[in-house]
Amino acid sequence: MSEAGTEVQFEAGAEAAAARVAIGEIFLEFLIIGAISFGGVVPYLRDRLVARRHWLSDKEFVELLSISQSLPGLNATNMAILVGQKLSGALGAVVGILGICLPGSVLMFIVGIVYRSHGDHAWATGALKGVAAAAVGLVLSTVVQLSKRSLEQRGDYLFLALTVLAVDLMHLSVLLALVGVGLLAVLWHRPIDTNMEEQP
């Protein structure tokens, strides 16, 4: 019963926030985040939405982030959808994702045009070689940090290795690896029976 009470309060809180936060403000805030978030969006989201705007509590932010990470889609755009939705429903979600995508997509549109006409200059080739190598290090560091944070059992490393083998050595499609190994891993982490009996 207390669960239901919290839920109602949460809903009411969301509606109050919706009344306060105008669509234009949501769009502007995500536009700013989309324009300044060099090097990764999540810290900027937390700084702007939680610390500056107080649209979310830290607890709500972490909760929404964990949903974002479990679903397909980039953290940045999933967070824009979820926060926009919480602040102002469907329209909030639409302006959130538009705002966060607009600056980077316009920038990359221009970069694409410049790259196609000047990408084979000697200095560009040199710079791109360094940028690509650095990107490898960047993704590896994300892998290490995520592993430290979210892998608890030895079995988890087995599933991680299975996924890599399936994609890189057996050249299975990413979708097959995701569904196949994912299913195994979810079953491995299945709820224990006592929890199941509580289900209606």
Partner: protein, 173 residues
């Protein structure tokens, strides 16, 4: 222009693979855009992905130039809608009731089970990228250097990618 339907199909499909991050879809993106449809070369894909890490906002905006090259500005817009639309709708739909599933025991199972698989997909994508991006001592040193610095400090990763570019230019002669 006749490639527009294929462009939409490919990026809508890739969209659903981005569990854990955009890199998870990279091996499939390479197969589909480079090998199957030949919209760009393998080095071009590596360059776009890497430069894309310097742009602010969601880190997969490198799909925009692919759309532009294949179908002009319309192609760029369609690629954005195809790549972000499906997951946006899914997140919107699931977000409504996911918090209410807090007591559903399988919710934790799904989160715990998907964690190693999504990290595995990132690592697999990283290996695919590394096959084209790391060759010889210099590129290996840049990759290892960036990894070590990021694990030891809280420096902004975009600065290190920029540093990689500077080293790449300086080492030309």
């Amino acid at each position: 222009m006749s490639d527009l339907p294929a462009l939409i199909r490919v990026f809508a499909y890739l969209s659903l693979l981005t569990v854990g991050g955009g890199m998870a879809a990279y091996p499939e993106m390479k197969t589909l855009t480079v090998d199957v449809h030949q919209w760009l070369t393998s080095p071009q894909l590596v360059h776009l992905y890497s430069v894309g890490q310097l742009a602010p906002g969601p880190n997969m905006m490198m799909i925009v130039p692919i759309g532009d090259w294949v179908g002009g500005p319309l192609g760029a817009i369609l690629v954005l809608i195809a790549f972000f639309g499906p997951t946006a709708v899914l997140t919107f739909a699931v977000g409504r009731f996911w918090t209410k599933l807090e007591t559903w025991p399988w919710r934790t199972s799904i989160q715990q089970g998907l964690a190693p698989v999504s990290i595995g997909l990132l690592l697999a994508g990283c290996f695919t990228l590394a096959k084209s991006a790391v060759f010889g001592l210099e590129t290996a040193a840049i990759a290892a250097g960036v990894l070590l610095i990021l694990l030891q400090t809280k420096i902004n990763p975009a600065l290190l990618v920029l540093g990689g570019a500077v080293i790449g230019v300086l080492s030309l002669e």
